[in-house]
Symmetry: C2
Subunit: 161 residues, 2 copies
């Protein structure tokens, strides 16, 4: 399969050709949400190969920016993401996947279902008081779905400071 | 209000301090979904000022990459996004906003409710047949919510090829 060339704004915004825009690193961001709950699970990145493999196999593939490899999500952990629906946005520079997660049903390497397991406290209560700066986040998920040490063993943590 | 410095992986991933990571352009991607329907509406980008203003005002602010200005979404069109919940992901390099959209309830400059108004056809039917390449996308929203020409007038289209 091939992507279409980006020819005009009308084609990209209002047409039916898939003409994705990859950034200067060759990547397109991908929002992945649960098809069952609607919850956003993660924001990943795809290169052209990952996008093609996702379309052709119906399983989410990403480009791992930390490991710099094509990443078939769940190939090692069993937490495969089966794509229920793929959408693309108006200017075709972002993907949205609605997925059903296999196995334990979690998508976050820390052990939670969603990578977005914390909320940010909103409003004017966020002032310069140091005790409040230390409590800007609240946990939404009460407990982890899996123990990352058990599932991933000695695989390096992908988070970079 | 201030953000915390990123000191350790444990602090960033498991702590309650807000320590967002901005990319080399000073931006953090922001997924915005409808608090009512769960549908993803757009993927935007925030700089530090936009993130702070969103937290303090409870209304979504972004950095417009096309216009290179702070962007109070809906300030001109009336389509203000009221933040119901803000979340941040494990390594704090992505934001998720759940919003209630004012006015006509749309968020896409093309006139649709969601920027993700087209789905990508999945599977092996995507081959090299040119008629199929021309029909890789299907419309999910049947009609526009507003006429962009009426709402925005002569404002330049933000989409770049």
């Amino acid at each position: 399969m091939n992507f279409s060339r980006r020819i005009s704004i009308e084609q990209v915004e209002e047409g039916m050709q898939l003409a994705p825009k990859f950034d200067s690193d060759g990547l397109i961001p991908c929002i992945t949400s649960s098809a069952e709950t609607g919850e956003v699970l993660m924001l990943g990145y795809m290169n052209a190969e990952a996008l093609k493999k996702t379309i052709l196999t119906g399983q989410a593939h990403y480009w791992s920016r930390s490991r710099e490899v094509l990443w078939h999500k769940g190939a090692d952990s069993g937490l495969v993401q089966h794509v229920v629906e793929m959408r693309i946005d108006d200017d075709q520079d972002a993907i949205w996947l609605r997925v059903s997660v296999a196995g334990l049903g979690a998508s976050c390497h820390v052990g939670y279902k969603s990578c977005f397991f914390r909320r940010v406290v909103l409003g004017s209560q966020n002032n310069h008081d140091s005790s409040q700066i230390d409590n800007m986040l609240q946990f939404v998920e009460e407990r982890k779905t899996f123990d990352p040490k058990q599932l991933y063993g000695d695989v390096p943590n992908p988070t970079k400071l």
